[in-house]
Symmetry: C2
Subunit: 227 residues, 2 copies
């Protein structure tokens, strides 16, 4: 479902070149549950952004569902980002002027879901992450962990075939974390593909496969006994 | 050094009242190392903002170093925020248009430190959190964990007598986390007071005292064997 071949992502800063990703190759099959770990700055979020069609590699090729992403037109790219992929961002990226409910409705608007159904699905998604009583709050009227959960609800509301989650439980206490991981396990059991960046071993243990990154490269690729 | 007496913090949302803090009382002595834990939304960041003189209680009294904060004038409040207290925010609050170096210099500008010394101390602070090679990057040109470390360096650069850290290692891998906790332990050993929100038991274990919050109240206050 996902295939990267010799993908590089560099940034030019004056005379310096930063190699966020270096000649990285990777294949992920449908219904895999993959955890990505590695030191701060090793390229995990950059890799997630490339997979999520939000960033373009400087070189190399990326096939999503058999189609070469660099050759997709705007309509196909939009469909990939809005319907096939759900993304929980490391810094949430919520719209500050919208309520939690409106934020979660946004992907459903892109998907052309009618208003009544959109409302109902967004309410339900917020309820499953424990935010039924915060639906009309704006991001500044919520705690850090509540914002993180709105970002999770937004990513889940379209039931995307691929869920990308970048440090999804970093601001959550252990019991809330467990609830979120149960949601992810259910999604995986229902046939979806999950790719999750985490720095916590206990979270990575939910995945059947762990990729370890260092300095822009994948340095280990381990098959695990899933819990 | 810190005393809260019956402190409340409420928010009015239409007909609803949200009790972020409820009649909370607390005393913290100099050179204590206190961890605050509790579920998402239980009031931890709100408590930190009150202690850090960034938010005013709806009722109750707060003494900082023996002075009643509600009766401080603007000059005294500014001095408290900029020189006595260092704050690592849960969402970092970096200035997007400034480099990492310039961000870390900001508290030193408020403290009236001359330019050459300011530059040197900011460089050193970034070096101690492992960001020597990211000094001229802006926040959008850094990873999540790098931004978090800039926020930490900024809070430490004035050597504040009180360090408030709200989930300071949420975006960091285990070995970077260990480096940061060593910095905090050193600060504590040097006589400073540390108050740290965390959801990770291993991080809380560095503290000698753990406060547990739930629904706006302190529900447990345990003295620990510090490591
Ligand atoms: N401006 C606001 N208006 C209304 N409610 C608010 C506002 N700011 C915070 N709250 C509410 O106050 C409560 C406490 O928030 P706080 O940020 O202190 O929680 P927290 O313990 O830090 O949570 P987390 O672990 O998720 O960061 C939350 O339920 C939040 O929704
Ligand atoms: N716009 C940019 N310009 C220059 N360098 C950048 C830019 N964006 C990211 N980088 C660098 O690319 C590297 C990889 O960043 P990335 O965000 O992928 O790391 P990460 O593994 O997600 O880290 P973390 O665990 O801290 O979130 C980092 O060293 C970062 O400083
Ligand atoms: Mg990242
Ligand atoms: Mg908080």
């Amino acid at each position: 479902i996902i295939r990267l071949d010799d993908v590089e992502r560099t940034y030019r800063m004056g005379s310096e070149t930063i190699y966020a990703l270096r000649a990285l190759s990777l294949t992920i099959d449908p219904n895999e549950f993959v955890a990505i770990m590695g030191p701060s700055g090793s390229g995990k979020s950059t890799l997630m952004n490339v997979i999520g069609c939000l960033d373009t590699p400087s070189s190399g090729r990326y096939w999503l569902n058999g189609r070469l992403v660099s050759e997709m037109n705007d309509r196909q790219l939009a469909a990939a980002r809005n319907r096939e992929i759900g993304f929980v961002f490391q810094s949430f990226n919520l719209l500050a002027r919208l309520t939690a409910l409106a934020n979660v409705e946004v992907p459903l608007i892109y998907a052309g879901v009618p208003r009544r159904e959109r409302h109902e699905r967004a309410r339900h998604a917020l309820d499953t992450v424990g935010l039924a009583d915060r639906m009309l709050h704006r991001p500044t009227e919520m705690s850090g962990g509540q914002r993180q959960r709105v970002a999770i609800a937004r990513a889940l509301v379209t039931r995307p075939s691929i869920l990308l989650a970048d440090e999804p439980t970093g601001n959550l206490d252990s019991s809330t974390t467990e609830e979120i991981m149960n949601l992810f396990d259910d999604l995986h059991a229902a046939g979806h593909t999950l790719i999750m960046v985490t720095h916590e071993q206990e979270i990575a243990a939910h995945a059947a496969r762990v990729l370890r990154m260092n300095d822009g490269e994948i340095v280990a690729d381990e098959q695990m006994e899933p819990r």
